[in-house]
């Protein structure tokens, strides 16, 4: 913003200095008559054009800019952030509970299967029991008909709507995105989703949001279709942890982070192992190179002057 104003001043000064030496009329006449003499005039004209465009776009962009990008979200100290830190699996389990009870009515997670939860958030028996609670369309059977059966571990998490159009129709034209990869699909995803979910506030003075939308400063543009879903004690956690808004937000984001990056723990272990081994290999390679080159590098060249 400040840069724009500075550039404006520089351009004005340049134009003023030029206009002092050459009056405007002679600019145009010289421009038409001589190419060389008029080149400085053309340049000045171009600068003027650029300056005016800059000024015009400047004034409209500045006012829309901040809300357009949304309020920058802060960085929260996620427990799984460190170079060798794993997920908090108790948090993932609670987060899945929050997803199931609060979010699943509108948001699908169609890339996650029940079997993915085994060993991460639930035991096999628990996951099987959860899967069995849903009805899945399967088939065709021997008679050629589709039938419904209780879910199995291999089934994906159920979708709330049959297709995107149905989802949009049920939500005032807005599509609740699939959450399987959401923390990777948004810039600074984990912090953004947490800030968004816990950031519903009254709009600033002068901003009014139309009926059907809600104000959220972190959402680009500020007007989001989703209402505030996390309210204190909306969920009762199995492990007795108090379900405050911030707690549910942290747990559901942990769950979503796992869903988007289930390989994270293995990746970190692999990364640590291979960076260590490759560092050793680097040292070995450096030693070997220097060993081989030592023959040449320790040559002595004698310059003999022939008289």
């Amino acid at each position: 913003m400040v840069g724009g104003g500075v550039i404006q001043q520089i351009l004005r000064r340049k134009l003023h200095s030029q206009s002092l030496t050459t009056p405007v009329r002679s600019w145009f006449s010289s421009k038409n008559a001589h190419v060389e003499a008029g080149s400085s005039g053309v340049r000045a004209f171009a600068l003027l054009g650029a300056g005016v465009t800059g000024l015009l776009s400047f004034s409209t962009v500045a006012s829309a800019d901040e809300a357009e990008h949304g309020l920058a979200c802060p960085d929260y100290p996620w427990p799984h952030d460190g170079i060798l830190s794993s997920y908090d699996h108790a948090s993932i389990r609670r987060g899945h509970q929050v997803y199931q009870q609060v979010c699943a009515s509108c948001h699908s997670m169609s890339l996650i299967s029940y079997r993915d939860l085994v060993g991460v958030a639930y035991t096999e028996e628990e996951a099987k029991a959860m899967a069995a609670e849903i009805e899945v369309v399967d088939g065709p059977n021997d008679e050629g008909e589709m039938f419904t059966r209780p879910g199995k571990l291999s089934d994906r998490l159920p979708q709330p709507y049959a297709n995107e159009s149905a989802a949009r129709f049920a939500n005032g034209g807005a599509y609740p995105p699939d959450l399987s990869l959401i923390t990777k699909a948004r810039h600074n995803g984990q912090n953004y989703v947490f800030a968004l979910l816990t950031g519903y506030r009254d709009p600033p003075a002068g901003i009014s949001i139309r009926e059907g939308l809600h104000y959220n400063p972190y959402f680009p543009g500020g007007a989001i279709a989703m209402p505030k879903m996390l309210n204190d004690e909306a969920v009762e956690y199995e492990d007795g942890v108090p379900a405050t808004e911030a707690q549910m937000g942290k747990d559901v984001v942990s769950f979503l982070s796992w869903a988007a990056e289930p390989e994270m723990e293995e990746r970190k272990l692999m990364g640590f192992k291979w960076i260590f081994l490759l560092s050793l290999a680097l040292l070995q390679a450096a030693y070997y190179r220097r060993l081989k080159w030592s023959v040449l590098k320790s040559r002595k060249l004698v310059l003999d002057v022939v008289n």
Partner: protein, 93 residues
Amino acid sequence: MNLEKTDFNNTTSSVGLYFIVYSDRAEDEVVDPKKYLEESCKPKCVKPLLEYQACVKRIQGDDSGHKHCTGQYFDYWHCIDKCVAPKLFAKLK
């Protein structure tokens, strides 16, 4: 409050000892740590808050609908967020 009476029968005495245990049930009102921290961070962010309030006052009479205080609002909440973020997770499980 939970009152639990445990009969503690001491064989050496004829009178049973009564052991009363009081246990506090969890508070009916849970306090959201984020809201609490946002309140406690307000003193640190007085300057942007006053800027915002000054802006609100400035645009009070405006009917054109073009004036708004998003900038000052963002500055204030950015300050609060920066203050709250490092402390919040320590208060959560």
